[in-house]
Amino acid sequence: MISMQQVYVIFRKELRSELRTRYALNALFMFIITTLSIVLFSIGSEDVSPNVLSGVLWIVIFFSSMSGLSRTFVSEEERGTVMTLQLLTKSLNVFFGKLLFNFVLLCILNVIAVVLYIILINDFLVKNYLIFTVTLMLGTLGLASASTIIAAIISKANTKGTLYPVLSFPILLPLLLTVINATRLAVEGAFFTEAIGEFQVLVSYFVVIVTVSYLVFEYIWKE
């Protein structure tokens, strides 16, 4: 079974090795800057509808998480530390430790992305911040859960970098469509009750993905 203490140890290990190399943080941060500036250049002085902008925000978030989280498990394969981890702890502890770390990482970067987005793009005015914050939190949870299990799959494959978005996109599409819709509601200034349906989808998506990952992760990890 899962031991909270060991999950926390794995999380600490991830955090420490990330702070040493800062690979994911740097890559994610630079990716956000790059994509945001492309968006800004292409908008120019045009008036863009908030509906389009709420979609663009999630495109930025999706692709930056794809570039930053792909190495979650690949790094273990490359450094040859998979066996050590297998000996030290149960596979599910590893999975939940990594999931926790990815979630924290995505939270930090989504906050940066959203703050920059709101500051830099004048047409993007959020009218209902409650819906927006809840969407962002639940969206990050779902994104972290699906990208962690896909990252585990691709760590065993040959063409790791390109395969990651290809495998993730169909899995993440229901999540992306829902968060884009919820963000649109937040921008339009809808009431909180109108967005409850979206939140239910997001919560159940997270629960379903984590449950399936819980059931199948052992097979990937021991392969």
Binding site: I150, L167, P170, L173, I220, E223
Partner: protein, 228 residues
Amino acid sequence: MFLKLLLGIWLTVVIIVAFAFPVVANPQAWYEYPIITGLEEKARILFFHVPMSWTTVVAFLVAMMYGIKYLKSKNIDDDIKSVASAGLGLLFCILATVTGSIWAKFNWGSFWNWDPRETSIFILLLIYGAYFALRSALEDESKRATLSAVYAIIAGVTVPFFIFVMPRIMASLHPEPIINTEGKVHMNATMLTVFISSLAGFTALYVWMLRMRIRLGRLEYHQLSQGA
């Protein structure tokens, strides 16, 4: 051999009957189809398009089922069955997309307009594509079998979300929900018989092709393991 012949004759009759019987306003004779408002002559697509979509979904479920079985048994034969079914699913998925798209051009005026049904079949295509991309990136047999089975399971559980998500994003123009208030296509007995026969024919075709592909997969596997 006999069954194969029977299947050939069966599907030939279905195809001829689907195109040859006239569509009339008030069907009297046993060989006449009724007019479905908004579809008219174009209603004939449902004899082919619907069974293709049905086979696509069945093939995916079969592939997923054998994937789960493989994870339990670790028997490479289950993986051969799984990939055989997924390959056929991809074939039928492309056929259903193309026929649906051609029909959409004549009924809705454009080949592609992101109707919920079009979006769902597109996602199935993406999943099948990703599944085969993953397989080609894995060389080791047992790795390939395990990871593609896991991916099929993860993809399989996310598909039902589209049933909840899609109607929130856009309204559907697909015949079934818009023709009348009950949301049903009214078929007469003739049409229903041809439709069910076609469905049965396509399912039998799928089973026959699946068995052939499994045999082929086994032969290839043994050839590879002996050749090395």
